[in-house]
Subunit: 404 residues, 2 copies
C-alpha cells in the first residue's frame, strides 16, 4: 500500500509556517509499514488542490490531506474533495450542534460560516475525534481512500493516530512492524563510513532487511540509521541488536552514541558511571564547551565549572600544546576536580586547536595533549572544536582506553 | 514567473528531517516577487525524482532542487538532472582540485567517490559559492531553468541568496521591488505589541503599503516585520526607514535590534562603540551567556572572559541578589574589565534569576541588581535568563540610560 501526503495552505508556500505535519505523518506511515513516496505542499487554490488530489489518487492508494478545513473563505479542502468525488454536501446535524455548543460554552457568538465545517461530502464520513471545531473526513474513492485532517498539529495528530492509521492498517492488512535505530559517529567522513560499510551494505541489499542510511548532521556527527521490517516487535529488536553489534565491530569507537545520545550526554554519563568531576578551560571556543556540558548536566554535578578567557598574548611565544597542558592542570586545581580539560587554539587563525586532559593522581596522574585540525570558518570552527575535544575525552574515558 | 521547489531525500519523507529548506526558499521567492504554487518532497529514487522534475518544468518556469548532491550512492540529483537534460557529465577540474584541497587541509584522506561532486551535466554551470564540498548547479532547460542546491541549510542559503535569486531576478525582469525589515523586540507580549500598534496597523490597512506582521520567535523575542513593495530600491528603503522610525517611536526601547542583529551582537556593538570590556559570572546558565557573547565577539576583544561555577552551597543562606552583586564585582576585578555581569539563580528551582552589573570607577563606580521572573522548565529557563540578563545590560548601556 502506498500513501501520499498533501499539505494545504498558502502560508506553507510563503514560508510563514514550516510544514512539520507531513514529516510527522510520514514517520507514522513508515512505522505502520506503509510506503510514502511523495509529500506535496499546495496553496489555497481550488484548481491546484484538485490537481494534486487527482495526481495523488492516480499514483497512491491512500491520500492524507492536511489543512484547509477551517471556517474561513480560503478553507476549501472539503469543497475540492466533494468535487473530486463528484458528489454534493450534506450538513451533519450532530456536528453542527457540536460546533454551536463549543461557541456557546466559550461565551462567544458563532459566525454563521463556522457551520460550513459541518458540511460533509455525500459518501464520506466524519472523523469522530474533534478536539477543535474542524472535523476530519474519511472519503472512499473507488478502491482508494482519501483522508482530510486539520492543519493544527495537535488536532491533526489526534485524528491521524486515532482514526487514520488504524483505518489504514485495516485496509492494508499490514502485519509487519518497522523499527529503526541510529548509531551516531564522529571522526569519519560520510564517504569514509560508506567505504568501511560498503561490503555490509551490499549484503543487506541482497538480504533486503534491515536497511542502512547515512545522515550527515553537522556538529552532531554522521548518523547511521538501521531500519528493520519484521513480523513482530521482538524480532525487529533482535535484528536491530544484531546489526548494531555488527556495525560497531566494523566502525569501532567511531560510534559514540545511539539514537538521542549527544556527545556531551555520553561524556556526562561516563563521568557519572565512574563518579568523576570535570572542569574546563576554554579559549576561543568562548563558553560553547561549557554551555553544552551544562545542558547535559544542568545542576553542574559532574561538570563543575569553567574558566573562559582569551589566551594571554604574552603566552603566544609558547606552543599551544604547552599552553593547553598547563591550562588543563590549572583549571583542574582551581575547581578541585578529578579531570581538567582545556581547549587552546593555535593563534587567531584558528586552523588547529590543542586539547589537553589532566587527570588527578587518584585516577592516573596523567596528561594527554592532542592537536585537532579544524575547518577554518569561524562558527563551524568553534562547534567542531567542542565536539572534537569532547570526543578525545570520551575515548580516554571509555572502558577500552581506561584498561589499556 | 513561476517557481517550484523540489526537496530531495528519503529522510524527508520518513520524517527524520523536517523540510525547513522549502519554507525558507518559498519566503525568498515571495520576497523576490516570484509566485510559487507547489513544493514537493521526493525520496532518493531516480524515476520519482525524474517525474517530479519533469512535472515541475511543465508547470513552472524555474525549479529549485534541494538535496541529493552529496558523495554517497543515494545522492543522485545530478545524474537525474543530466538525464532530464539529455546530456552526459563533464568532470570539472577546478572543483575536483578544490574538493581535494579541502580534504588535504583537514588532514584527511579523500575517498574517491567524493570526486563525483565535481561532475557537472554538460550545458550546466556550477554555482561559485562552495562553503562545503557539494557544488550547486544552474541548468538552462529550453526557456526554463533548473537550479540544484545542497540540502545542508547553510550551504543552501548561501547559494540561493548569492546566485539563484539574482539569476531569477535577472530572468524574470521583475519590476516591483519587495523589501522587508525586521524590528526585533524583547520584553513585550505579542498581544501587547498588537495593542500598541493597532492604530498604525489600521492606517496601513487603508494605505496598503507597507504591511506589518508579527512573528513570535521564542528566545529571539518577537519580530515585527515591515514589508514594502515599491517601484525601486531607493523608494523601498525610504518606506522602510520611515516605518521603522515611526514604529520605534511607538515601541520605545522594546526594540533591541534590526534584521539579523541578535541581542548579543547589539551588546557587543555598544561595548565597542564606547570601548568598554566585559567579564561574566554564570551559575546555572552554565556557559550559555559566555557562548553567545563569544559568538558575537569571537576574538574576545570586548567580551574578555567568564567564570562558570555552580553557586556555592554555603552561599545559599544569602539572597541571590547579594550573591549576584558580589559575583559581578569579583569577576570584574578578576578579568580587569570595566564591566562585570553576573547571573545567579534563586536556588535550584530556577523560577527567578538575579542579574547584577558592576561598573568600574572610571565609568560610574555603580552597581545594579534586578530580579528576573523566568519560565520554569529548564532549557527555556537558561535561554530566557541569558537574553533577559543581556537585555538589562543593553538598556544600561543605551545612550538614553547612560545620559540619564
Amino acid at each position: 500500500m502506498r500513501g501520499e501526503v498533501i499539505s494545504i495552505g498558502t502560508e506553507l508556500l510563503l514560508g510563514i509556517i514550516v510544514d512539520g505535519n507531513s514529516a510527522w505523518i510520514g514517520e507514522q506511515l513508515a512505522l505502520a509499514g506503509i510506503d510514502c513516496f511523495f509529500h506535496v505542499k499546495v496553496g489555497d487554490n481550488f484548481q491546484r488542490i484538485e490537481g494534486c488530489i487527482r495526481q495523488a489518487l492516480a499514483r497512491s492508494d491512500a491520500v492524507i490531506c492536511c489543512g484547509g478545513l477551517g471556517p474561513t473563505q480560503d478553507d476549501i479542502t472539503r469543497d475540492v474533495i466533494a468535487h473530486v468525488m463528484g458528489v454534493g454536501m450534506r450538513r451533519d446535524a450532530a456536528i453542527a450542534a457540536r460546533i454551536e455548543r463549543i461557541f456557546a460554552s466559550r461565551g462567544r457568538v458563532m459566525p454563521q460560516n463556522n457551520l460550513r465545517q459541518a458540511d460533509i461530502p455525500i459518501g464520506a464520513s466524519a472523523i469522530a475525534e474533534m478536539p477543535g471545531t474542524a472535523p476530519g473526513l474519511v472519503c472512499p474513492i473507488g478502491n482508494k481512500v482519501l483522508y482530510a485532517v486539520p492543519g493544527v498539529p495537535s488536532e491533526m495528530r489526534e485524528m491521524v493516530a486515532g482514526t487514520v492509521l488504524p483505518d489504514l492498517r485495516r485496509r492494508s492488512g499490514q502485519a509487519a512492524v518497522i523499527r529503526s535505530r541510529v548509531l551516531r559517529t564522529w571522526g569519519m567522513s560520510e564517504s569514509g563510513l560508506a567505504e568501511v560499510l560498503a561490503g555490509r551494505v551490499e549484503e543487506l541489499d541482497r538480504l533486503g532487511n534491515p536497511t542502512l542510511a547515512y545522515q550527515a548532521s553537522g556538529i552532531d556527527g554522521i548518523k547511521v540509521r538501521i531500519v528493520a521490517k519484521c513480523a513482530d516487535e521482538a524480532r525487529a529488536r533482535q535484528v536491530l541488536d544484531h546489526e548494531e553489534s555488527l556495525l560497531r565491530r566494523l566502525l569501532g569507537d567511531v560510534v559514540f552514541g545511539v539514537d538521542d545520545q549527544s556527545m556531551e550526554h555520553v561524556v556526562i554519563a561516563q563521568l557519572r558511571a565512574r563518579n568523576l568531576t570535570l572542569a574546563v578551560a576554554e579559549g576561543l571556543t568562548g563558553g560553547l564547551l561549557a554551555a553544552r556540558m551544562s545542558a547535559a548536566d544542568p545542576q553542574l554535578i559532574h561538570f563543575r565549572g569553567a574558566r573562559i578567557a582569551a589566551e594571554a598574548p604574552q603566552a603566544s611565544d609558547r606552543p599551544p600544546s604547552a599552553q593547553a597542558r598547563e591550562a588543563a592542570a590549572r583549571v583542574r586545581e582551581e575547581f578541585a576536580t578529578e579531570i581538567g580539560l582545556a581547549a587552546v587554539s593555535g593563534g587567531h587563525t584558528a586552523g588547529t586547536t590543542s586539547a589537553a586532559i589532566a587527570l588527578a593522581a587518584a585516577i592516573g596522574d596523567a596528561h594527554y595533549v592532542e592537536t585537532i585540525m579544524l575547518p577554518a570558518d569561524r562558527p563551524r570552527f568553534r562547534d567542531f572544536a567542542v565536539i572534537s575535544v569532547l570526543d578525545l575525552l570520551r575515548k580516554r574515558l571509555s572502558p577500552v582506553a581506561a584498561s589499556g
